[in-house]
Symmetry: C2
Subunit: 422 residues, 2 copies
Amino acid sequence: MDGAAVDGAAVDGAATGGAVDPQLLIARAYLSRVSEPACIPVWDLVRRCGPVAAAAAIRDGAVDRDVAAATQARRDSVDPIADLEAAERYGIELVVPESERWPHFAFAALERTGLARAARYRDGDRTHSESGELMPPLALWARGGLDLASLGVRSAGIVGSRAATAYGEHVTAELGYGLATRDVTVVSGGAYGIDAAAHRAALAAGGPTVLVSAGGLDRPYPPGNAALFERVAESGLLLSESPPGCAPQRRRFLTRNRLIAALSTGTVVVEAAARSGAMNTAKHCVGLGRPLMAVPGPVTSPMSSGCHTLLGRDVAPAILVSTSDDVLGVVGGIGEGARPVPDNDPKLAAGDLRVDLDQLDSTARRVFEGLLVRRFARPDEIAARSGVSPLEVIRALPTLDLAGLIETSDAGYRVAARRRPG
Amino acid sequence: MDGAAVDGAAVDGAATGGAVDPQLLIARAYLSRVSEPACIPVWDLVRRCGPVAAAAAIRDGAVDRDVAAATQARRDSVDPIADLEAAERYGIELVVPESERWPHFAFAALERTGLARAARYRDGDRTHSESGELMPPLALWARGGLDLASLGVRSAGIVGSRAATAYGEHVTAELGYGLATRDVTVVSGGAYGIDAAAHRAALAAGGPTVLVSAGGLDRPYPPGNAALFERVAESGLLLSESPPGCAPQRRRFLTRNRLIAALSTGTVVVEAAARSGAMNTAKHCVGLGRPLMAVPGPVTSPMSSGCHTLLGRDVAPAILVSTSDDVLGVVGGIGEGARPVPDNDPKLAAGDLRVDLDQLDSTARRVFEGLLVRRFARPDEIAARSGVSPLEVIRALPTLDLAGLIETSDAGYRVAARRRPG
C-alpha cells in the first residue's frame, strides 16, 4: 500500500463525546514514538489516512519510500500499549487531536504552516524535509489538570538562559507573578535559570503554568527540578511530545521550543546569550506569526546580548517589555503594544482547503455568524454574540481559518475579506 | 522701518576670505544678546536684511510689532563691544554664519526647519511663535581650536542623566573612548553624570570633543566641572549661544539641547529618567531627522526607563546600541544600522527657494557635478570626484540642499530626483 492507495480514505476512529476510541489512542501512541518528532511525510500520511490506517500501514511497511525511511528503524519495536500503561502508572495521559483537550486554537498557526509545508513537499520541494521542527505534533503526553484546549488565548511564554543572572531571575519573577495573578498562563520549559523562575513565580501567585519538557514526563529534566515538575503537575500542566522513558536529547530541546512558542499568545525572552535555546524559541515565535517580546538589560551583560539582538533587528524586531503590564498589553489584547500578526501563508488561503459555509457543522456556522465583518473580536466576545461557549468558539476557529472564512490578528477574528458583503 | 521696508535689501558685510568684517561681528554680537535665543521674527529679519541692517533697525526701534516685542527689553542696554572685549579676555571668539568656521553642514537641517517655520510664520501661523527652540542660532561663542566647520560629518552626541548610575558612567566611558579613538567627535553638554563621563572619555582617548554650554563660557556650569571645561577648551571646543556673563537658566538648557542634536551626526541617550533633559535632546534629534540611539539597561533602573521608552516607540524608535561599534555603524556611515533620514519639510523643497545651476558659485557647481545620480556618496567621496577639498564640499552642500538640487540620507548625498536625467 503506497501513499496514493490510502489517499482519500475516511478518517477512522473519530472521538465520540469526551472519550477517545482506544484503537485511535493506541495508533497515536504508536505514531508518537515511531516518528518523533513527526516528519513531513509521516504527518501528511496521518492527515490523509487518519491515525489508525497510517499506523497500520507503517507497521506493515505498506508506505512510500519517504515514510518508510523515516519509520523503519522503530516500526517493529514500538509497543504502544506498553507506553500507554507506563504513562498511566505516572499519571500521564495521551492527548490526541481527536480529543476535546487538544489545543486546536494554540496550534492553528502550526497546523497552517504544517499544511503548507506538506503541500510543498508533495510538489517535490525537499527544502525542509530534514528538519521536522515545524510540523504539528502527532500527539501530546500530558500530566496535570490545567485546561489545555484554551491555551493560547491568554498565555505567555517566558524563556531564557539556564545560566541566568540575579537580574534575569528577579525580572522573571516579577513578570511571572504579575501575569499569573492576572490569569495569564505562564508557559516555559522547566530548565534551570529563567524557565524555573517563571514557573515558580506563577506557582507562587497561585496562577496557571505549563511546563513543556524535552523528554518523557517520567524523567524530569534537569533532575534537580524534579520537585518543580511535581508542583507544576499538581496545579498546572506538564506536556511532552516524547513518550515516557525518552531521554531529553538535543533535538528534542529544539522541537520542544516550537511547542512553547505555539502554546503561547506571545513569548518573552528575558535573558539569552547570543546563541541559546531561547533564541531558537524566539525564532519559532516569529515563524508562527506571534508577537515576540524581549527584556533589555545591561549592555555589559552577555546574558542580555541575545535580547538586544532581538530588540535591534531591522525586520520584525522584538517588542521591548519591562513589566508584566507591558506583556499583558501584548498577550492580553488590551492597551498598547498589540501588533497585527502577519498571515503565515497567503498561498494556502487561496488553495484547495477552502470549504463553504454549508460544509461546516452547526457550531462552526454559529461561530461564523457571531463574527463581526470589519472589527476584530476576541473569542469571549464572539462566544457572547454567537451564543456558544468560549471553548466551542476556540475549537471552531481553526476550522474556519483553514476554510479561509476568517481573518486573524492580535485583536482577534473577523470575517475574511472575500466573504464580506460588497 | 517695518519688516517689508527692509525686505530684499542686499546682505551687508559679507565675509572676505578668512576674516569677518568687524561691523558684522558687532552686529551679530548685539543680536546674540538682544534676542536670545533667536525667535522667529528676529531670525527672519536677519535672514532678509542681513545682520548689520537688522541690528540697526532693532536698536532704532524701526521694526515690526513682533520684532519689537521680542527685543524691546534689551535693545537699549546691550553693549556688543563690551561683550566682544569680555570674550577676548577669556579667549572666547564670536563665530558667525558669515565666517569660514560656521558649521553650515551640521546646521543644514536646523536652517531648513528654520526657513520652513519662518515661512509659516509669515503666512500667519503662530503655532511655534512662543518657543524659539528650533530656530538656528544667530551666532556662537566659541573657545578652543577644534574644527567647527566640519562638525556633523562624523560626530556623536552622547547625553544622559546628571544622576547617572555606575553602569551608565561605565557604558558612557566605553562609548566615548571607542568613538574618540576612531576620530568621531563626542558632543555633549558638560553636565555632571553622563555628559562629563563622555567628555572625559574622549579626552582620555586624545580624541575630539565639543562641549555645548547653556550659559556664558566664562561661567562654567556646573562650577564643579570647571576643570573639565578647561581641558575641553585646550584640545576640543567649548560652544555657547549665550554671550559671556549669561547665567545658565532653564530655558538656555532647553535651547542648548537642540545645538547638541544639530552638531551631531546622531545622538545616543545612555541613561535618562522618564522626564529629563536628555529626552528633550532626543526629541530635537528626531525633529532634525537625525538618527537617535539609546542604550538599554536594567528594567529595574529608573535611570534607564527613558531609554526604554525611546527604544519601544512604535513610530521612530531609537536604534539600540550596546557598543561604540554600534554607534560607529550609525554615525560613521559604515556597517549596519544606517537608516534613511526622513526629509524634514517636503513642502519647502517645492517652494520658492530653488535656484538653478547657473546661480551657483563655481565651487558649488563643481560639487554638484561630483555627485552621483543614483547612489548616495559621502562628502569625502564627493570631494575626490569633484576635485575640491572636503571642507569646501561640506560648505557647498547646504546651498545645494536648500536649492533643491540634492537628496540627503544617512548614506550621504546624491542628485535630487527632479534633476536626474530621464
